[in-house]
């Protein structure tokens, strides 16, 4: 049963975010609207401290530490936002909740955004953050990479790029509705069937997003670091996908998991009935608490 809190957010999203995504509004206007919406998200709980140093070369990043005794575990999180915007407060709160539930520290990377910094700037920032953790003495078996939406795409890209560069793999990755396919071939399946059902995302302007992210070099859309669903999953750590059954991005998770399994990687997909995109970040909804609990279980499983 979908809770009333989630239903309310679903309706509000359908009337606001989805309407904005369907219209030809500027990136600046979109960012302003998101900033206005962010006021409704509460602050990070007082028992989680936020530090900024050491930082990254080209972007902002934060260290989150729950006071109630974190272990060696580290969750490296990449926020969502269609590669162009971000929900700073919502993502910070989401990571804080995961860290508290999993007794882990968190690293939140506000990678550079398109169109000012098109691909591969964002990916480079995320890779730098992973390298920084390793060089800072954190063992890869204590790191879990996590990502929401566009951040989920970057999380998969980081795993593939790190493997290709010969870096050690983290213990696991949690992918929340990753946007893992920027290529044209995927314009079917859930992207069509769920086009009207999805309460948050509308891919009517998907082409514009792709062009802005790739700086008009749309031929890059088939590159595995841009569309990880087309990449090679061999050698990747265990993956956990969480996605809503009515999301346009449902098939991205399913296809990634299938490819991962066929490459011998343990990959699980949790399909949540009628949950809107990014429900994990709705701290006031019971489904969010349940999803966070399950994510924390996975982190604990991956990093004993």
């Amino acid at each position: 049963m979908v809770s009333w809190q989630t239903r309310t957010v679903e309706l509000l999203s359908r009337l606001t975010i989805r309407q904005s995504l369907r219209r030809d509004i500027s990136v600046t206007a979109m960012r302003e609207r998101i900033q206005a919406m962010e006021r409704f998200f509460p602050d990070v709980p007082g028992d989680v401290t936020i530090e900024f140093e050491p930082g990254l070369s080209h972007c902002d990043a934060e260290w989150l530490t729950p006071q109630s005794g974190p272990t060696e575990r580290m969750v490296l999180h990449f926020p969502g936002g269609a590669f162009m915007t971000r929900f700073v407060r919502a993502e910070r709160l989401l990571l804080a909740r995961i860290c508290r539930a999993a007794n882990a520290r968190g690293r939140l990377v506000f990678y550079r955004l398109a169109p000012e910094h098109p691909y591969p700037a964002g990916l480079e920032d995320c890779l730098e953050a992973y390298r920084q953790l390793l060089s800072g003495g954190i063992a890869p078996e204590h790191i879990v990479i996590s990502g929401m939406s566009a951040g989920g795409c970057l999380a998969l890209s980081v795993l593939m790029a790190a493997r290709d560069e010969g870096m050690p793999m983290p213990a696991g990755a949690v992918l929340m509705s990753p946007a893992a396919d920027m290529s044209d071939e995927s314009e079917g399946g859930s992207r069509v069937v769920n086009a009207a059902r999805d309460a948050v995302l509308s891919l009517e302007r998907g082409d514009d997003i792709r062009k802005l992210y790739l700086d008009d070099k749309t031929e890059l859309a088939n590159h595995p670091y841009v569309s990880p669903v087309l990449g090679d999953f061999s050698g990747l750590p265990p993956l956990l996908f969480q996605v809503g059954s009515t999301e346009v991005l449902l098939d991205d998770s399913r296809r990634c998991a299938e490819r991962a399994r066929s490459a011998g990687v343990r990959a699980e997909v949790e399909v949540w009935d009628r949950m809107p995109h990014g429900w994990q970040a709705l701290s006031f909804a019971p489904e969010s608490g349940r999803a966070i609990g399950r994510l924390a279980d996975f982190v604990r499983e991956s990093c004993p």
């Binding site: 007794n103 279980d297 604990r300 004993p304």
Partner: protein, 285 residues
């Protein structure tokens, strides 16, 4: 210490499966029950029989070295005892309920109890990791560890070997290995057809779009009026607003649309019809 951490890893995976199955209890009671019974059995026969006594031995050693945590460790030990009792009770109730009861309110109550049990177990693990695992590594001496290892029976968590799990708990192991899990599915008593649902969503989108445009328009107009600084500015602003607002949501507002003209004409004709008919009758007489 590593063995205790591995136990928590295995327990976390089983808790995730319990959480999945509890959500399916009303929809597929028999199937979910068989997995839950095995999961609770695993908890009783491994965690409460081997893992918790192992932790209790560790607690005792820490208490001997560091009295600061005395109360916390006593609480954790009590939680072990209460947890074992609760696991047994839940397993017994699960077995006792009929399929029909599992679908009904008693099943819902049981599901709530199992959910609370899962939440409590997660919190218990968090507290153990946060409070005493690190402390144990800091305060215990090599001889403490030797004594703990000597007292240990060496039992391994079957979760470390899925083949072993499959032999002991076949249904649980089968479900642990499933690649896709469905969460939050419910039995809908009055299902709304997909077509109707889509029509409702399309209507929400349509009116959402209109509302969105109306708000945008109103905001733009208010901004323009607030920027007026002189009478001529007001005239200019009113002129701009009039010319910019001739169309709304793709419709021209100065000329009524065809449906409105036709509808209006039909209403006028319907209203006049009795009078026209009456005058015709009078004329024919």
């Amino acid at each position: 210490m590593q063995s205790l951490r591995l136990d928590h890893a295995g327990l976390s995976r089983v808790l995730r499966e319990i959480d999945t199955q509890v959500g399916l209890l009303a929809r597929q009671p028999d199937q979910a029950r068989s997995v839950l019974v095995e999961a609770l059995d695993y908890l009783l026969h491994y965690h409460h029989t081997f893992h918790h006594p192992r932790e209790d031995r560790l607690f005792a050693r820490i208490r001997a070295r560091d009295t600061e945590l005395d109360e916390t460790l006593r609480d954790l030990t009590h939680e072990h005892e209460a947890g074992e009792r609760q696991t047994g009770e839940l397993a017994a109730e699960l077995a006792a309920l009929s399929t029909r009861q599992l679908r009904g309110q008693r099943g819902q109550r049981l599901a709530d109890q199992v959910n609370a049990y899962v939440r409590h177990t997660r919190l218990h693990m968090r507290n153990e990791e946060a409070v005493f695992y690190r402390r144990a590594e800091r305060v215990l001496e090599p001889e403490d560890w030797s004594a703990i290892i000597a007292a240990d029976d060496g039992s391994l968590d079957p979760m470390t070997d899925l083949a072993l799990m499959a032999a002991r708990y076949p249904r649980l192991a089968e479900n642990l290995g499933l690649p896709v899990k469905h969460l939050g599915l419910v039995e809908r008593t009055q299902p709304i057809s997909d077509e109707l649902r889509l029509q409702m969503l399309a209507l929400t989108d349509l009116y959402g779009g209109l509302l969105h445009e109306a708000l945008e328009l109103a905001r733009g107009n208010v901004d323009q009026l607030l920027a007026v600084r002189s009478p001529s500015g007001l005239v200019r602003a009113v002129g701009d607003i009039s010319s910019n607002n001739l169309r709304f949501a793709g419709q021209c507002l100065t000329r009524p649309p065809r449906w409105a003209v036709n509808g209006g004409a039909a209403i006028v004709v319907a209203c006049l019809r009795p009078y026209l008919k009456a005058s015709q009758d009078t004329g024919s007489r």
